[in-house]
């Protein structure tokens, strides 16, 4: 082997340049963790909330209060009519009961908490008065790892990170080199262009491995996330996703001369996918008519495949469709990029 091998030297230089930019290291490895911590705390599973109910002063009020207190989730108080309407208006009470020959529920039907209070209070009163439910029900509450928001979030953050990695790590880096005439300088040597491209993709792959491992280990340690799929399948999905975005990143970088141009292009590519591709909430929430479009996006495919493999332990073969979508984006991006690429 040659003492100085071009592919090895190119990859080494990418690593060195990366490691010597602390802010880049933070954005690539640290920022997704901060996002996970922040969102994990904001949307952690909370104990059932109290239902605040008021009963307007009445001789029968005490009995009603007693009956309602049988449900520990209901917080009930006796209030004057004026205080009742004010508390309802201010949102301090979700529901007010006016007793007479019938029970009158006063509430704003557009408030979810009021609707919940109405049904809970009604059930408590009817049951106390002797109502028999014709259907027997039992409850099993599910809050186990795998079904929580943080479990949904972490694969999404991983997908987002792999997209950002391809765009910044390939697209931005290449345009930066072009704007500094470094690309022109290196093709003035006998360097093989394929070595250069291979080095870009190889270094991306190495960063991808670190990103996957850091985020998943963090999810496991900090949030007790359970990883059901095999590491081989997870890495395989991440690899295809990473290469897909590397191809798109290369395409974005193929002609841009200035950093500003490529930044705009990268935002054009990434912003719609941040919103549409199910990073922070399920992509299924968008209307049915746009679903074919959303499902064809590479980040949607990546997030779906990552969630299936990580959270459900799906086999790689079951994700063939998603993998095909990502591969298509990557290959088309790469081929167009090679066709349009400008070295100077």
């Amino acid at each position: 082997m040659r003492r100085y091998h071009p592919l090895r030297e190119l990859v080494l230089c990418r690593f060195r340049e990366f490691a010597r930019e602390p802010e880049v290291v933070f954005w690539v490895f640290g920022f997704p963790l901060l996002l996970a911590i922040g969102l994990g705390i904001a949307f952690r599973n909370q104990p059932q909330e109290k239902i605040f109910v008021g009963v307007i002063e009445d001789p029968a009020a005490a009995t009603t209060v007693e009956r309602l207190q049988a449900n520990p989730a209901i917080h009930v108080e006796i209030v004057s009519p004026e205080a009742a309407s004010k508390a309802l208006r201010m949102g301090r009470l979700s529901l007010v009961l006016a007793l007479g020959h019938s029970v009158e529920y006063r509430y704003d039907p557009t408030r979810p908490d009021s609707l919940l209070a109405r049904s809970q209070v009604d059930a408590a009163l009817q049951k106390a008065a002797g109502r028999q439910d014709p259907i027997a029900v039992s409850e099993k509450q599910v809050t186990e790892p795998g079904a929580r928001y943080i479990d949904f979030l972490i694969p999404g953050l991983l997908g987002m990170n792999l997209m950002g990695g391809g765009m910044w790590g390939i697209g931005f880096v290449i345009v930066d080199m072009r704007s500094k005439k470094l690309l022109k300088r290196i093709i003035a040597t006998p360097m093989r262009k394929s070595d250069f491209m291979l080095a870009m993709f190889t270094s991306r792959m190495a960063f991808m491995l670190v990103e996957v491992v850091i985020l998943l280990i963090f999810g496991w340690l900090a949030f007790g996330m359970i990883i059901r799929g095999s590491w081989a399948s997870i890495v395989a999905v991440a690899f295809v996703g990473c290469m897909s975005f590397a191809g798109i990143g290369l395409l974005v970088s193929s002609r841009a001369q200035k950093i500003e141009t490529v930044s705009g292009l990268m935002n054009l590519v990434m912003l719609p996918m941040y919103v549409l591709s199910g990073v922070f909430f399920s992509a299924e929430r968008f209307p049915q008519t746009v679903q074919p479009l959303i499902q064809a996006l590479p980040l949607t495919a990546l997030n779906n495949a990552l969630r299936a493999v990580i959270l459900e332990g799906s086999y790689l073969s079951s994700q063939a469709g998603a993998l095909a979508i990502m591969a298509t984006w990557g290959i088309v991006g790469y081929l167009l990029a090679i066709r349009w690429f400008r070295w100077n």
Binding site: Y4, P6, E9, C13, E17, L182, A188, T189, P190
Partner: protein, 309 residues
Amino acid sequence: MTLAVRCSQLCKRYDNKLEAVKGLELEVHAGECFGLLGPNGAGKTTTIEILEGLLEPTSGVVEILGRRWGTDDRELRELLGICLQETKLPEKLTVLEILQLFRSFYATGQEPAAIMQKVALSEKAQTWVTKLSGGQKQRLAVACALVGNPRILFLDEPTTGLDPQSRRQLWDIVREFKQNGGTVMLTTHYMDEAERLCDRVAIVDQGRVIALGTPAELIAGLGGEHVVEFTLDGGNGLPIAEVSGLRSVRSARWEGECYSLNVGEPHIAIPALIHTVRDRGLSLAGLTTRHASLEDVFVTLTGRHLRDQ
């Protein structure tokens, strides 16, 4: 004598409009240092980048060491060392790392340590590019061109913006390369650089070679190797024709502020000049004399100064 570079009828038109190079002819001999001298915008960079295989000519023939771009690219890349006008090498890599990178691109070449010694950067081996001075950066850029043991070294304005000491250091590196048998082709708009460094010079203006030869030949071509410049009290009261006719004066120009004469023998021309001025009842406000330079050649050929643009 073997030819290192030959180009003929070289034309380059950008976007079908601007014609940067218009039928340029050049021959660079192996082992010489050849300079393209001209003002900014003369087509020097376009020409050298076509020769380097980085730009396609619109038309014309280019041969480098008997090979052609388009068919012998890989072989040529191994034989050429190139220093672009402006390359920003990666800021956070060290001198040694960058030289290892460039060394890895070539099948044969010099050890990075040896090349660092040659360009006096050994002490900076572990220093990031961003911490280097302008002169050190430029020496590193030349080192990247030398690390593959090239037969021809192309330098595009290698000393632009450098301080005098850095310029001399760079010239020494170029001279050493030449002494070891290398061919150098450089562009510059510094006449002193061309005079001191180059065996032969082509003066380029508006995409054409307007003069070619050794610096001494070009200066001798003025007819007089000396320049006498003088000013009169009260402007240009002396007709140019009368000054031109003085003994030993080869040519004369009014330069807006002073008269400039190309003179064969100043000790003959100056007394004659003083005599004429006195006869006309005028008086000299200033008079200087110096050796003619390539700048004077350029001015004589184009009526403009090199640095005017």
